[in-house]
Amino acid sequence: MTDQSKNPQNESLADSELSELAPGAELQQHSVDAAPIALGAVGWVRWMWRQLITMRTALQLLFLLAVASIPGSVFPQRTQSPLKVRQYFDENPTTAPILDRIGMFDVYGSSWFSAIYILLMISLVGCIIPRARVHWKSSRSLPPVAPRNLLRLRHSSTIQVSKTPSEVSQEFFPVLQKYLATKRWRTVVSELDANDPTSGYVSAERGYLRETGNLIFHLAIVVILISVAAGSLFGYRGQILVREGTSITNVLSQYDAFTPGRLFNTESLVPFNITLTDLAVTYEDTGIKAGTALDYAATISYRETPDSPLEKRTIGVNDPLNIGNSSMFLVGHGYAPRFEVRDAKGNLVFDDAVIFLPQDSNMTSTGVVKVADTDPQLGLQIIFAPTAVVTEQQGPHSLFPDLIDPKAFMSAWIGDLGLDTGRPQNVYTLDKTNLKRIGFEEIAVGETWDLPKNAGSVKLVGVDQFATFNIASDPAQNWALVGAILAIVGVIAGLYIQRRRMWVRVVTRDGQTWIEIAAMSRYEDVDVSSVVESITQFCASHFGVERFAEVTNEEKSH
């Protein structure tokens, strides 16, 4: 084992160094060599493939993904706030359509964003596989051959001992090897060969988990990318408004808004049933933040399937109800005033609580009541204010979100509500094409308004609340979580574990026996001097040597 250039282990050392330095460097080399001059279709594809699976390309794609996600934070996005997109179109009628064509209002669902995403995924896989193969080989190979002169390394030391080199090699090296094994070094002993004075040494290496961590981290990124994509393809998001005391079933027709993933199957909706028994909202009532909701909680009873037992619980903010892959989140609330409408003869023709949509932070809400069973039909357009005032600038509105002085401000319309046209109608607006306004009035709870033109009467009986629930399903979210945990574990191992090599050699100088100790790491920030120090201490105490020289070759490596 004298001639290092003939030693195959030495070659593999160089190989693994290269692979650590630049995974896929080998491939990059090929691709540079194989510049696509007159390559033909297959050659081109192969060349592009090789370009794609280099670490450099993966990094560039990751960078591109970051840059590509910026416009989504600048322009309003349809998936998050369709209203703001409409507003943007109104304010910028010329530029908006152009921006829309290049996907600026749906950046994260656009084809170019998906393209970067998919290329990145493929590129990462292409990087990981060869790198894992190299790591598999190198993690089973033995620690590398010692450099010829250990004292020329940046961190090294030497001590003189009163034993012969062969005694050191035969008696001490096994002891050292055992000691190193307890410190989780992988070791190999090269026995002293009489023909070669530099052949007696122990070689050790540790920190193989660093590269394992790196690979796990990059694999985890791929898992996350796939999970995010799968979640948006197979999942759904929707919104349901539920009045206190009523129940809903998780079927498509109950949703006020529903956004399915591209590959979502409606039949996979779990038909759970939920009754909202109580909704409690508390508000800050003093200070500068008066009127902000402090907390809200919905008490519900539910069945996971039509056959399961009835269960009870509370859904709060940050505390969703999970059923199968679907989860139900409390995201908002509002008022549902209860009205009684009687016709001219005093017959009850309408008796229900109606969901009103909040318009501001003080819960000024708007809604309509449609009574189709009278002749002519009656429509009421109503502003509801939980703490009502009327000012000249703002008209009727609310000063505080809680029910302190609730009032309904109603304008009554008679005629044809347009319900018989067969067209789907918005339940929150009146179609006034065939309606005539007959009057305006404000009433408090318990008060009745006798409508003009002998059109009957309206009574504000009471005020219920309703809760807004987001229901979402993401079948891949657990995989994303697994990916995220693996990524954290992997990145900690990949950055905190330090790969070090260390050698202890016995030599003869000036007729005396010396032990030389040296350590190195490819990473310049890794502190290997402590390794040299502790091994030197170990050798010194074994031989009872008190004084030794530490050689720190600062200038040599510069």
Binding site: Q77, T79, Q80, E284, K289, D474, A480
Partner: protein, 299 residues
Amino acid sequence: MAINESYAQISNILVYGSMGAYTFAMFSFATSFAQGRDTEINPSNGRKAGNIAMSLTWLGTFILGAGVLFRGLSASRVPWGNMYEFSISGTFGVMLVLMLISLKRDIRWLGLFIILPALLSLGLAITVLYTESAQLIPALKSYWLLIHVSAAVVSAGVFSIGGVVTILQMMVSRVENRVAAGLTPGRFEAVARRVPNAEVLDVFAYKVHAFVFPLWTFTVVAGAIWARSAWGRYWGWDPKETWAFITWVGYAAYLHARITVGWKGNRAAWIALAAFATFIFNYFIVNFFFQGLHVYSGK
């Protein structure tokens, strides 16, 4: 729950007090800086002023820590509900990290360059960002606030120290390159003579960034888990989330440039600074000018 106004008052006084201590520390650091010639040749120059500065910085950090504590006690919660509270906690995070590092290595040379931005940050907090102590908005009521925001605050501290060291490294390497090319040292000579050489700074900056990257990864993941329980999805490309991701990519690119490609010095430093810029952008610009779910600037 009611707000304890006297605790909020005590907190304000303590924050002002810490600024006082830091201001005197800054003067001492500046004195030490002015006295220091070449630290390698005569390390005792400016030593006394430097020691006083370090003591004052410890004092200021304790007072600021107490201020953050009382701010939390005033509303019986962790003091991370709005930007004022993030700023005082984040500055405390920076100074605490600096003090902890100072237990292991001599970083007097770094003091002046950290205490200036720390004072600036506290100044911004008490003038522009100040908000009365109040209860949390419902979405923030979760134990994930503790986990996600504490990780974010520590990350902010370490990112800032990494950023400052990187800027110093670029100044020093400019001087070193000019000297090597036979030119005059240039305008950063004064700095270069008082801090370690560019290679030491480069390695230090790398260590700081390599330490914080897993923590930032954790911050983003913890935020995603919290978002899942608060808003029904773990990732929704909210502006804050988008920019947290961009910052993550920036630092990932820096680490790859260092480890995989083997870049050192200025080329890697520019990437680190760009990543730090996206972090600062996320904190100040996104909170105030972008509309999203992370609305807690308190304005």
